[in-house]
């Protein structure tokens, strides 16, 4: 079967920037950050107090109470974003389509909030037992499974867990399945809810979390800020999307992966450069055609410096004409959902002809000497864009997007 172009026909998102696409884009296009004091966990014994939480969230507004019992916060976010994306696409899941449709999600830590609560009951409160739904709430594929069950999708459904690259790996796999004709549509993205005391303590011990805010590429950057939420895309073959007169946000045109095969946490520039080159090759797009990169841009001293080097390796002189921004400065680092939130940001940037900025920027860093679109969104026509995700463990995944 010849390769098909892959259209994005629906998008759903819930993050610190809001519970729908419009509010997320409003923040992103105004350079407004959703980072604030963490409320979900008592931070008095933590070295950091900032996070990008989904605020004012009440599951009862989205789910029946008996349904909530089965859903960890990360799976709730996955379902909410998937419902939005499907409704937004106008795609009808007919009995014929249901078996030929995929759900591919990314998550780094799955339902760890539920696990943490279960272990607190066990170890701290000396409860002799944990909740019987702890396993199905905790498993990383719970988001994908609940999307499949609620929407009646029974084709390939699975979850990829590659730390901070999870969502990009998931979206890339779904993209390839649609492009190759293995499925006729896909819902894909990522979801995450990392705010539990146990996990925050683990991040504190890594010493990569900023004590104030996330300032990617800024000389005074002090680390990442954790975020949460979910982003989901509906992918369809372009021909079918056009035939049903669907609104087309943009295209996924390429996907590239690589492994650093180096250190478990320290990044390299070689691995990310190799993944960017692979995405360009897969897309059949020349480096000079790329107008924007949504950077991995975590705000850690190591990432932003090595990512800058990797971009320079791949784009050489064209790096001077590239806009590169990190929207993690606004929606935080949502780990296994990061690539999904950033896919939405990238596609909206192309559609609205407006490049979201790197917020919270203060001081240029000679080691990060790219046009990082500091603090203010900038109008700009983008033909093609990349979205980078580089994970602990050295696993890199890059998506290439084309405008509609």
């Amino acid at each position: 079967m010849p390769q098909q172009r892959v259209a994005i026909t629906g998008m759903g998102i819930i993050s610190a920037l809001g519970a729908d696409l419009a509010s997320n884009w409003s923040f992103l296009s105004q350079g407004k950050s959703g980072i604030g004091p963490i409320k979900l966990v008592d931070t008095s014994n933590l070295r950091f107090q900032s996070g990008a939480e989904v605020r004012g969230y009440d599951p009862v507004q989205h789910f029946q109470s008996n349904q909530i019992d089965f859903l960890d916060r990360f799976a709730q976010f996955a379902l909410i974003a998937a419902r939005q994306a499907l409704a937004d696409s106008g795609l009808k899941i007919t009995p014929e389509l249901a078996g030929k449709m995929a759900v591919v999600t990314g998550s780094c830590v799955g339902g760890q909030t539920s696990q943490d609560a279960g272990f607190v009951a066990l170890y701290q409160k000396n409860s002799p037992r944990v909740h019987p739904l702890l396993i199905p709430r905790t498993m990383a594929n719970a988001g994908a499974s609940h999307i499949s069950m609620e929407l009646g999708i029974y084709g390939p459904v699975y979850t990829i867990s590659t730390a901070c690259s999870s969502a990009n790996h998931a979206i890339g796999n779904a993209f390839w399945m649609v492009r190759n004709g293995q499925v006729e549509a896909a819902i894909t993205g990522g979801s995450e809810a990392p705010f539990s005391m146990g996990l925050l303590k683990a991040w504190e011990a890594m010493r990569v979390v900023s004590p104030d805010t996330c300032r990617p590429f800024s000389r005074d950057r002090r680390g990442l800020v954790l975020g949460e939420g979910a982003g989901m895309l509906v992918l369809e073959p372009m021909e079918k999307a056009l035939a049903r007169d669907a609104r087309i946000y943009g295209e996924i045109v390429g996907f590239g992966m690589s492994s650093d095969a180096g250190h478990i946490t320290a990044p390299t520039s070689r691995g990310p450069a190799s993944a960017m080159r692979a995405a360009l090759l897969d897309a059949g797009v020349a480096p000079e055609q790329i107008g924007y990169i949504n950077a991995h841009g975590t705000g850690t001293p190591a990432n932003d410096q090595t990512e800058t080097r990797a971009i320079r390796e791949v784009f050489s002189n064209h790096a001077e004409r590239l806009a590169v921004s990190s929207t993690k400065s606004m929606h935080g680092h949502a780990l296994g959902a990061a690539g999904a939130l950033e896919a939405v940001a990238t596609v909206m940037a192309m559609r609205e002809k407006m490049i979201p900025p790197t917020a919270n920027f203060t001081t240029p860093d000679p080691e990060c000497d790219l046009d990082i679109v500091p603090n203010h969104a900038r109008p700009g026509e983008i033909e093609f864009a990349l979205s980078n995700s580089f994970a602990f463990g050295g696993l890199n995944a890059v998506l290439a997007f084309g405008k509609a």
Partner: protein, 87 residues
């Protein structure tokens, strides 16, 4: 002769990195000892547990030699004026 604090730091480096104690000297740098950024974080964790102190991120991420670790550790073990009760 190294004092007790220095001796303990040298012991912790050897046990954390699993290298012979005699390879670790009072003037070693992390690079000479083969300690990367994650090894350094592991070492600080062991120091925090051993001395029952909390090392700020800025300090943990800045030290890169035995003398620096010992110097920072001494500062953390010495009560500062802020920590003393008001007169």
């Amino acid at each position: 002769m190294p004092d007790d604090i220095t001796e303990k730091v040298l012991d912790l480096i050897a046990s954390t990195k699993r290298i012979p104690r005699e390879q670790v000297s009072v003037n070693s740098t992390f690079a000479e000892l083969g300690l990367d950024s994650l090894d350094a974080i592991n070492l600080i964790f062991e120091i925090e547990s051993t001395f029952n102190i909390s090392v700020p991120d800025a300090v943990a991420n800045s030290v890169s030699s035995v003398p620096q670790v010992v110097e920072e550790l001494r500062k953390l073990l010495t009560p500062t004026s802020q920590q003393l009760p008001p007169e």
